[in-house]
Amino acid sequence: MSNVITMGEVAARTLADEMRRDPTIWVLGEDVQAGGIFAQYKGLFQEFGAARVVNTPIAESTIMGAGLGAALVGTRPVIEMRIADFVMPAIDELVNQIAKVRYMFGGQARASVVVRVPHGLHPGSAAQHSQVIESWFVNVPGLVVAAPSTALDLAGLLRTALRCDDPVVFFEPKAMFKNVADMLGDWPAIPFGKAERRREGKDVTIVSWAQAMPAAIEAAAALSADGVEADLLDLRTLWPWDSEAVLASAARTGRALVVQEGVGASGFGAEVAVTIAEHSAARVRRLASPRIPVPFAPTLEDVCFIRPGMIVAAAKEMVAG
């Protein structure tokens, strides 16, 4: 019996599962009662009611800060941020408060929240609705950062996030929420910090995550057809991230290409690539979006996307060079 559903529905069903298990989990955010803008809360209001699925005013600072307050008295809020760009009005509450309460107060407090943040390029969305800001939160002590690229990983990591006591910034691949998959079986929890090997190869390591993954997978297949075998790792979580797997792969292949969506300058790819450079003799290279705001017109916006061909070309250059 098939179970073909969208990634948004997978997210909603996983959350429903966990809310049934743990009555302290609840959701707050704009329009969550309507199911969220990517159907990632679909059906929750109907099942759990207004006390646990809370429609909020448009007030990101307080959505984030109230989530923290509710965590400090023992609940587990899921804080919905709509898209990454709208986290910005709430960064004070996330970085100055949530990330630090446990530490500042010497372990008296826990901020067990999951901050859900759909992120990345989404065609036609322009400069204020397309951003990738992962690296900022990797730079913030106290935060766990997840960035799955598949429905199964989203489900498994969301489960883990909802069961863990640390605050988790949970980036979701927003342009992929409508993708469908046949979600047979159950969707077990996935530990943070473990990369998934999407393809095995000996010639070049490709490290990627989130919305850059589909292009990386396509590129790896194309490379294979041309006789270049890529070892393709999907990081899935960015803090902690699986430096062990990455370093082992880079040591085997001697070359590592780090592929990310979003601005490369001080993007998370820099952290990955430099760690490889510090700890191995492998050559490193990055592919990322240029340092420009995301433009609207399709011909312009195109320069922000990492296309399979670019990955293929870069990998071949590395293998040749």
Partner: protein
């Protein structure tokens, strides 16, 4: 008959502007659904009386800030219709060279400082613009448009207090269309409403029927007059109703049919037609507007997309990606 203190010409002009916005919105929603326009479209159909009534009392030197639902604000302030259409289509010649699209239409040449993808994002910008203008000794005022959802974001109160502290000539215009995206704003907004919040920050103002362009214009005239006389900021709360979904593809099932029906009966275009009292003349305007918008749409459809290399322009001069790319 036109209201006593407005000439018939002026009222026809207001009607023409409102109709232009309506047809523009409807055309763009259809074009978006047809896949011609990328991204999102937030239509302001049903709310036209607000920007048209307010901008009628502004000069070209005056500035406005806007929202994600900003086509109407721009057109009311005098932004070029053809270039706005080109922008929504993402084509060469668009107001922003295709870089902005619907959510970022701007025409600085007429004092339209930009639509904004961030709710309440225009509010701090508006008060700062007024402060900057004062530094130059300018007499210009600033009108700041925002929605009923925006009044719950912190920058709203910060901006009101700021304008009152410095006595800045900012007209805060709350375009209260009843909804915040998919949520009825009454469920997320406490207290007696936006005007009371303004007054509590020392900003006086009025509440007005936002579907009646004559009433909006009259209130704006009073308030802007007080502002120009040095009275500091003012607030205008316009009650209206969003005819469309939040974005073009939103069926707005959360909305009560009876509310929509009631609102459609108070369509600002119908209200103004009633005030005009000359259906034939109004019909003639309608036809002209439709032809004009068909014309600019045709131009937009045929215009080329901007060349890829332009993506690297206008980021910054120092440390420009163009420089990086050329290395």
């Amino acid at each position: 008959m036109p209201a006593a203190d407005l000439s018939a010409d002026h009222l026809f002009d207001l009607y023409r502007r409102m109709k232009t916005i309506r047809v523009f919105e409807d055309t763009c929603v259809a074009a978006h659904k047809a896949g011609e326009i990328p991204g999102y479209i937030h239509s302001s159909a049903g709310q036209e009386a607000v920007p048209v009534g307010v901008c009628a009392v502004l000069t070209r030197e005056d500035r406005i800030t806007s929202t994600h639902r900003g086509h109407g604000h721009g057109l009311a302030k005098g932004a070029d219709l053809e270039r706005m259409m080109l922008e929504l289509y993402g084509r060469v010649g668009g107001l922003c060279g295709g870089k902005g699209g619907s959510m970022h239409v701007a025409d600085f040449s007429v004092g339209m400082l930009g639509a904004n993808g961030i709710v309440a994002g225009g509010i701090p910008i508006a008060v700062g613009a007024a402060q900057g203008l004062r530094l130059f000794g300018s007499q210009a005022v600033v009108a700041c448009f925002f929605g009923d959802g925006a009044v719950n974001r912190g920058p709203f109160m910060e901006g009101l207090n700021w304008a009152a502290v410095y006595g800045l000539p900012v007209l805060f215009v709350c375009e209260d269309n009843t909804f915040s995206a998919f949520t009825h704003s009454s469920t997320t907004t406490a207290g007696p409403g936006p005007l009371a919040r303004a007054q509590a920050c020392g900003v006086a103002g009025e509440r007005v029927d936002g579907n009646d362009v004559i009433a909006v214009r009259a209130a704006a005239e009073r308030l802007v007059g007080e502002m120009r006389a040095g009275g500091g900021p003012r607030f205008l709360w316009c009650r209206t109703y969003r005819f469309s979904g939040h974005v073009s593809i939103d069926p707005a099932t959360y909305r009560k049919q009876e509310d929509l029906d009631a609102a459609l009966k108070r369509d600002p275009l119908l209200v103004t037609r009633g005030q005009l009292g000359d259906a034939a003349a109004a019909d003639a305007i309608d036809a002209e507007v439709e032809a004009e918008i068909a014309r600019v749409q045709d131009i937009a459809r045929k215009a080329p997309y901007p060349p890829r290399a332009e993506a690297f322009d206008d980021v910054q001069d120092i440390g420009s990606p163009a420089v990086e790319a050329a290395r």
